[in-house]
Every structure is written in structure tokens, then in C-alpha cells.
């Protein structure tokens, strides 16, 4: 479903030049639950942002469903983000002056759904994430876990095939983080391709595949612990 070929990305100029990604080759099948791990500065967030069409790459190719994603065309990129990708970030990225319903409804407004349809889809997403009673609340009135659920609801409400999460539990306590992980698992079981960037091994071990990045390159690409144990021991 997703294929990266020789992708590179550099930041800064001259002495401050940093090669965030160096010749990344990666392939992800539909329905996979993948964790991308690495130390700070290893390039994992950069990789995720390129996968989400939110950051351009300097070199290489990005293939999605057999077609290249054209980073030169803002219009195509916008369409790609709008239709194919749901994004969840560590700091929730909820608009403070919109209530939860309005936040979750954002992607649907860009797609041109009717008011009635938007209401239907948003309430369903909120129900799925068990925060339908918070529809009229504002982000500041919610706990971290609830905000993250709202962010996930926004990411999935448009039924994207690819869900990307950048440190989704980074700002949450352990219990809440586990609850959020459960949500990702549930979504993956429903067929979503999910890629999670994390430095937390506890999060990664539950993924079926872990890709390690080091100094902008893939240093390891293997099964997650649970998947490994399943394979080996079942």
C-alpha cells in the first residue's frame, strides 16, 4: 500500500545542515500495524510527516496504492491528506475555540458532506471513541485522554485507509496511554493501516512490526514482540 524508495530529507543549511532521512526504503502493506522507533533525532517524526503528505522530501519517491504522491502539487497533496490520511499527534492538535464536535467535523467539511451526514458521522466516531457526551465541550474542559480520543475521532471520522500517529501516548499517563493503544488495536482489527511513531517500547511491542531508525536510516525492520511471540510460540 505504501512504498518509499530512497527517500531523503535534509534540514538547515551549511554548518547547520542535518540529514534527517538518508535513503529510506520502506514498504508497508495494507492492514499492518507498524511502529517506528528510534532515539530523538533519528528521523522518525520526519518519516511520518512525509508519509502523511505534510512534509516534502528532498529525494526519492513515495508510492501510495501504486501511484506516486506528487509533492510538487499542493492541490494533489491536499487531496491526499483530505481523503487518505488521518493524523494523530502527541499534543492532540485540537482547535481551542472549536468544541469537540466542531473539531471532529473539520475533515468532513473539507470533503463537502452535508450537515446531516456530518452530524451522523461525527456522532458515530465519538461513540466509537466513547466520548459522545463530550460533543459540546471544549478541549480545555477535557482530560488528556479524552482530548486524544477526540483527536483520534477526528482522524478516523473520514474513514481514511492510512492512520498515522506521532507519539500518541507521549503526553498521557500510563493507564490512559494503554487505553489509547487499545483503540489503535481495535481500529487495526477493523482493517486500518496504522503507523505509530513512538520511543516507548511498551507501545511498540504491541505492534506487529517495528521499524528502527538510526541516524536517518532503517537500522532494523522486524516483528513486534507480540507478533514474534505469536509466530514463534503459536
Amino acid at each position: 500500500m505504501v512504498e518509499l524508495k530512497n527517500v531523503s530529507k535534509t534540514f538547515g543549511k551549511k554548518e547547520a545542515r542535518v540529514e534527517a532521512l538518508r535513503g529510506i526504503d520502506l514498504s508497508i502493506r495494507e492492514g499492518e500495524l507498524v511502529a517506528i522507533m528510534g532515539k530523538s533525532g533519528s528521523g522518525k517524526s520526519t518519516l511520518l510527516n512525509i508519509l502523511g503528505g505534510m512534509m516534502s522530501m528532498d529525494n526519492g519517491e513515495y508510492w501510495y496504492d501504486g501511484k506516486t504522491v506528487n509533492f510538487r502539487s499542493q492541490r494533489e497533496l491536499t487531496k491526499f491528506r483530505r481523503n487518505e490520511v488521518g493524523f494523530v499527534v502527541q499534543y492532540f492538535a485540537l482547535a481551542d475555540d472549536l468544541n469537540i464536535f466542531q473539531n471532529v467535523a473539520l475533515p468532513l467539511k473539507y470533503q463537502g458532506y452535508s450537515r446531516k451526514k456530518i452530524k451522523e458521522m461525527v456522532m458515530e466516531a465519538l461513540r466509537e471513541l466513547e466520548i459522545e457526551d463530550k460533543a459540546k465541550a471544549y478541549p480545555s474542559e477535557l482530560s488528556g485522554g479524552q482530548q486524544q480520543r477526540a483527536a483520534i475521532a477526528r482522524a478516523v471520522v473520514k474513514q481514511p485507509r492510512l492512520l498515522l500517529a506521532d507519539e500518541p501516548t507521549g503526553n498521557l499517563d500510563e493507564a490512559t496511554g494503554e487505553a489509547v493503544q487499545e483503540i489503535f488495536h481495535k481500529l487495526n482489527k477493523n482493517g486500518k493501516t496504522i503507523i505509530i511513531v513512538t520511543h516507548d517500547a511498551k507501545v511498540a511491542k504491541h505492534c506487529e512490526r517495528i521499524i528502527h531508525l538510526k541516524d536517518g536510516m532503517v537500522s532494523d525492520d522486524g516483528l513486534g514482540r507480540d507478533a514474534y511471540e505469536e509466530e514463534v510460540f503459536v
Partner: protein, 449 residues
């Protein structure tokens, strides 16, 4: 539809958030636009004048004048002392004597009131009707020179000053025309010169003393000459219209009689003040287009000197018309204020939108992240700029034409309004696009709460 709805919601949300700032910007732009248009009109003649108002004669431009007042009360109420009457006479003399803009005063449809007994005496059995305006005989509204009221007949008349008399080449077949000498009288009571049209030959003799009522004042007059046959003047001084008024059956009264000694009573001086006032109302002045502004400023200075309203040059640009009562120094201050206000308006607009983009960058990033296009973020901002500038357009479209006195050309004024508003919008839009250039998801993802 939903996208339009989203943009509309964004626009209202954003506009409401900066409501106070936006209202302030609207005010600033409206005022600065108004002032800028008036200043442009004042200094570079924006709006110019109606071509038909000015007259090109012998290759020179003549502009009609008017001592523009509110129904004349503002001026006439001041003729209560000898001093103020003298000020009006001197005011006219000073204006008339300006080297760079000589004034001609002409009025071709006047009525001169003669005592009916004088009419009978002079005309005898001759037909008097061709010489009358109206033909009725009425009791005079004001007493004649001797203080008594009489049955009066209105006779056809005209009025002209010495400059116009000479300019239009009027001449006499008998006696003398208007001269510096006969237009200057020592004291009130000395006879004022009258000229008669050629048809009066054999009816009234040169040298005859006649008392007349003219423009609600009594005058003691002496016939100094009879004009050549066919003498004419342009109708009401409008030379370019081509119409002429023949003077053959008219009594010609002078503008600009100079009185050397002040009388004791204001009522005695009042008639000379009225004469001078009407001369300014019926005047035309010659000057070049590029000197109009200087002339307006000169007229303003002279008006200040004598404490009367400035003479209006009919058909000047909007700015000159509105600011003719202000001194050149005050107008320069206004110009500086205009520039400052305009700069502040643009600065305010830039800062407001810079702040807006900076403070909303998180929201914009969220929108972009979720599939919003940059244009859907830009359009509400552009709409906000347009709304801020809109009152200025309304004011320019409706207030400016209404505020200005007649005789200016609205077309160039409106074009200037639209160009200025358009420029302001383009500057705002360009700044916005420039600021939004860096607002992409790559930039925003790097931001943290």
C-alpha cells in the same frame, strides 16, 4: 457548499475575534481615504472642473466667481457699520486689482427702477415698453434718494465694471464711457455714472441727473454717456456660450464705484458695499489652470484680511472647493495628517493580519493537517480585508459627491477612490499571501503548544 460554509464560518469567527480592531481600521481607512481624495484634489486637481464652467476666450481661461454664502445673510448681516461696509468695498478693490488674476464683473439682466414721473418726463409720448422689464408700475419697495417712495417702473438694465467695459470694447457715441475718474466719487451723494444704450438717444440727455433704485438701494446718478449702437456683452458674462445681450435699450449701471470719503451712517455706505458684493458674485477671473490653487490660497488670505468669506472660483476641483476657507498653512498640516493617517491605516492592517496569522497558525496547521487547502484559509482573510475597506468605498461613492459643492467632475474622483481601495486591498492581499507562504504543515507541525 460545505466548503463555502466553512470559509464563511471562519470569516465570521475571525472577524468577531478582532472586532474592535476591525472597526478601528474601518474608521481609519474611511477617514484617510476621504482626506487623501480631498488632498489629491486640492494639490493635483483630481476631479478637475466641468469644462463648460470655464471659458476659453482669446486663448485664456476665465473662471466664474461667486462670493458664496448661505443665502447672502452671512455677508449682508455685516453691513451694519461703516467700517464693515468699507471692508467689503476694499475687499472687492483688492481682489479686482490682483495682477495675476484680473476680475471682470458682468450682469446682463438687471432691472433699474426709475420713478414713473421721470419715465413720463423723459419718454413723453414715445413707447416705453421696449425699455421696460415687465411693464408694470409699482410702488417702490425702498425710498428713492430723496427719502420718499414713488411709483416705480422697472427698466431693462445691465451692470458692468470698468475692466469688462474696456475688455469688451464698449464705446460711446456721445459723452464718455466708464472711466477711473467718473467711477470714483468723493463722498456719498456725489452722482454715480450711468451709461445708456443707443436707443435712449433723444430720450435722456447726457448730463441728466436721475435718481434710481437698484438692487434695493437708492442711487443718485448722472448720465455720462450713450453707448454706440449695437453695443453688446456676453449674456451673464458667459462668453463661451456665444449668446450676447444687446445694450441698446438698457440702462448700464456700474460695478465698483469707489467712494473716497466714508459717510457718517452705515446706511449711506451700505449701497457701496452691496455694489462691491454683487460685483464679486457676478465676477469672472482669468488665470491659468496651473495657478488655480495659488489663486484660491490668495483669495483665502485676502478674505481673512478683510474678515469676509473667500470668493469661490466656480468649477474648481473638489478639494479646492471644500478647503477654500482654510489657510495654506492649515491645509499643509492637513496634508501631513493625511499621510500619517494613511500610513497608520496600512500599518494597522498589516500588523492586524500579521498578528492574526501568527496567533492562528496552530489552527491553520490543524486545518491543513486535516485536508484543508491554503485557499480555504486565505479566502476568509481576504474577505476580512475587503470588509474593512468597504466603508471607505461607500463613503467615497456616496459621501464625497454629496459633500462637495457643485461643479466638480465625479468620475475621476470615483476612479481615484476605487484605485486607492483596490491598491489597499492588493497590498493587504499580497502581505497576506506572503505571510501565509510559510504557513504550511511542515512549518506548523514543528510548532508546539
Amino acid at each position: 457548499m460545505q466548503r463555502i460554509r466553512f470559509m464563511a464560518e471562519e470569516f465570521f469567527r475571525s472577524f468577531q475575534k478582532s472586532l474592535f480592531k476591525n472597526i478601528l481600521l474601518m474608521l481609519m481607512f474611511s477617514i484617510s481615504l476621504l482626506m487623501a481624495i480631498i488632498m489629491c484634489s486640492y494639490y493635483v486637481g483630481l476631479g478637475e472642473r466641468y469644462e463648460t464652467t470655464t471659458q476659453k476666450v482669446d486663448g485664456r481661461e476665465w473662471y466664474p466667481l461667486d462670493l458664496m454664502t448661505e443665502s447672502g445673510q452671512e455677508v449682508s448681516n455685516q453691513f451694519t457699520t461703516v467700517g464693515r461696509c468699507r471692508d467689503m468695498v476694499d475687499y472687492y478693490e483688492t481682489l479686482k486689482s490682483l495682477e495675476e488674476a484680473p476680475i471682470l464683473s458682468i450682469h446682463t439682466s438687471q432691472s433699474v427702477g426709475l420713478k414713473e414721473e421721470d419715465v413720463k418726463k423723459f419718454f413723453g409720448e414715445k413707447d416705453v415698453l421696449p425699455f421696460t422689464s415687465g411693464g408694470e408700475v409699482n410702488v417702490a419697495e425702498v425710498p428713492f434718494w430723496d427719502g420718499d417712495t414713488y411709483l416705480t417702473r422697472s427698466m431693462k438694465g445691465a451692470q458692468v465694471d470698468l475692466g469688462a467695459y474696456r475688455y469688451f470694447g464698449l464705446g460711446t457715441q456721445e459723452g464718455e464711457g466708464f472711466t477711473e475718474e467718473n467711477m470714483t466719487i468723493q463722498r456719498d451723494g456725489d452722482p454715480i455714472p450711468l451709461l445708456l444704450g443707443s436707443d435712449y438717444k433723444g430720450i435722456i440727455e447726457v448730463g441728466a441727473i436721475i435718481d434710481v433704485n437698484f438692487e434695493m438701494c437708492a442711487y443718485h446718478c448722472k448720465v455720462v454717456g450713450i453707448l454706440e449702437k449695437g453695443s453688446k456683452l456676453p449674456v451673464q458674462g458667459y462668453m463661451e456660450l456665444g449668446e450676447v445681450q444687446y445694450l441698446d435699450n438698457r440702462i448700464i449701471f456700474p460695478f465698483g464705484v469707489r467712494l473716497l470719503e466714508d459717510p457718517k451712517r452705515a446706511q449711506q455706505m451700505e449701497r457701496y458695499a452691496w455694489n462691491a458684493y454683487m460685483a464679486l458674485q457676478s465676477g469672472i477671473a482669468q488665470t491659468k489652470v496651473e495657478h488655480i490653487r495659488e489663486l484660491v490660497e490668495t483669495y483665502g488670505q485676502i478674505a481673512d484680511q478683510f474678515g469676509y468669506p473667500p470668493v469661490q472660483i466656480i468649477g474648481t476641483s473638489l478639494g479646492l472647493d471644500l478647503l477654500r476657507r482654510e489657510s495654506a498653512a492649515k491645509i499643509r498640516i492637513l496634508l501631513i495628517l493625511t499621510v500619517v493617517l494613511l500610513c497608520f491605516s496600512f500599518y494597522g492592517l498589516s500588523v492586524t493580519f500579521y498578528d492574526k496569522i501568527q496567533s492562528n497558525s496552530k489552527n491553520y496547521g490543524i486545518y491543513l493537517m486535516n485536508g484543508c487547502s491554503l485557499s480555504m484559509i486565505l479566502v476568509p482573510c481576504l474577505l476580512e480585508i475587503a470588509v474593512i475597506l468597504f466603508p471607505a468605498v461607500v463613503i467615497g461613492r456616496y459621501v464625497l459627491p454629496a459633500a462637495a459643492v457643485s461643479y466638480f467632475r465625479a468620475g475621476p474622483i470615483m476612479q481615484a477612490v476605487y484605485i486607492m481601495i483596490g491598491a489597499a486591498f492588493l497590498v493587504g492581499a499580497a502581505s497576506l499571501v506572503y505571510l501565509m507562504r510559510g504557513v504550511d504543515t511542515e512549518h506548523l507541525i514543528r510548532q508546539r503548544d
